[in-house]
Amino acid sequence: MGRLRTGGYHTAMIGVSLLWLGPIIWVVVLSTRTFDDIATNGVGSLPHSFTLDTYVQAWTDGGQLQALINSLLVTVPAVLLSLGLAAMTAFALSRFRIPGRRTILLLMLAGNLLPPQIVLIPVSKFSELTGLYDTLWALIAVQVGFGLGFYTFVLHGFMRDLPNEIQEAATIDGAGVGQIFTRVILPLTRPALAALGALSFTWIFNDLLWAITVIRTEGTMPVTPALLGLQGQFVSSWSVIAAGTVIAAVPTVAVFLGFQRHFISGLAIGAVK
């Protein structure tokens, strides 16, 4: 491997990386430009000004703060609930010879693979019927129901491979099913839970389709539909829209940076399993 080749490799990869990072950097810079600057010099120009008022506008006038709170109020409980429930099922199905366990597991996975379009209309009607429509509860319920299958499948694969001796030892020591679950298996499943947790956080937080199907009122909207609304509200105020975009992206980027290792292994679970 000559020095020239190494140089060529890095030049090419730096180029590719810039192609990927460029748009992000551009939008962050755009979010700090003033309205006048953009009106005079165009959205495509280099910045001639610096302001953070755009964030204040998106935050308060644009309702991004409320939307961010709504998103977190949906995402955090939905992640905890779906992982908790999935872990229970995965535990029962992987560690005990429950009749029909394989069928149940695959049926649950199949439910997760369904295109959401087929259930969109019935779910929106059902949430109206139960009075959940236009509340964050509806969104939490949908996200839990729709995520369970995949999380159960992945956790099942992980729990199945845990050594049996630990569980046997706990049984001999007199631990019941509940204790084996909470004290033995769950702690050993932590890496998989962390990976799925990071992954499902971004999935649920980033969702648009369910949000616009079961939520109607602007003040109840999570971040993704609110961002689309911001676009209608601040038609050509590109810096305010850019600021809203940055606000909507920060939580998932934070989760990614905080859980980078788990996050990537979570994505890879699908490929190797």
Partner: protein, 302 residues
Amino acid sequence: MTTVISTNSTARRRRSFRPSPLLLTFVLVPFAIESIWVFWPAIQGVFFSFTRWDGLSAPVPVGFDNYVELAGDPVFRGALGNSVLWLVLFGGLSILGGFGMALALQRERRGVGVYRAALFLPVVFSMVVTALVWRVFYQPDGLVDQVLTAVGLEHLIRPWLADPETALYAVIIPALWRQIGYIMVLYLAGLKAVDPAVHEAAKVDGANNWQRLWHVTIPQLKGVNAVILSVIVIDSLRSFDIVWALTRGGPYHSSELLSTYMYSAAFQSLRLGYGSAIAVVIFLLALAVIIGYLVRAFREES
């Protein structure tokens, strides 16, 4: 393949295993939740596709009318064609790009972590965020036009998202920008599992880089490829956010996908029966893939 672990060790006790009430709850509660929000609605969805329904009054059974209408609906045909094009372009290019990047960034060397992170960062964004980032670029005085002007191609400039000729492609590019990093991660995981000893042996036998890639690496990625292909097909059929955020299927349905058409038919035109019929078509297309996926998962389980 690992064997299924059981707390009961003898075959006789296995056959007579009766799950405790707690274990039954562990299985039944989540299963019930999924049934309420997924299985039952899916069955209802099929039922609604045989009705005419405005969402307010009761659904009126109309037999196969919706499907007959779909067959003659040019917008539906266009959406079907666009969905196929989307699958081929979005799916094909993200697999090629992701695999290429995974090969380039496979070996641990200086700087590789930074490049990987750069390609991967957009994966954590929502499609809506991605869409808005790119919307700025497609603006009349945005970066795309500026670059074209700078290289002397200003005659190509057009309203990228508002021109029926270019709208669909203008939507695919940001979708790819986000997807390639994701596919790359899947391939990086797959490449890690490729046996280096076989590579060495092929090298000793005088195989060049291309031959090793073609005859050693790719055959060993069969499992990963199958998963990625399923993921891509299912994702393509589901794709909605990016199109909705950029064009809502327009102009003149030029970037309409089955998913966006279903949504607007159901929730904007309030033709819930017709929308359900489109959903059933999407479902049937996905079903073939799902069955393939499950057969694979089933084999692994046993």
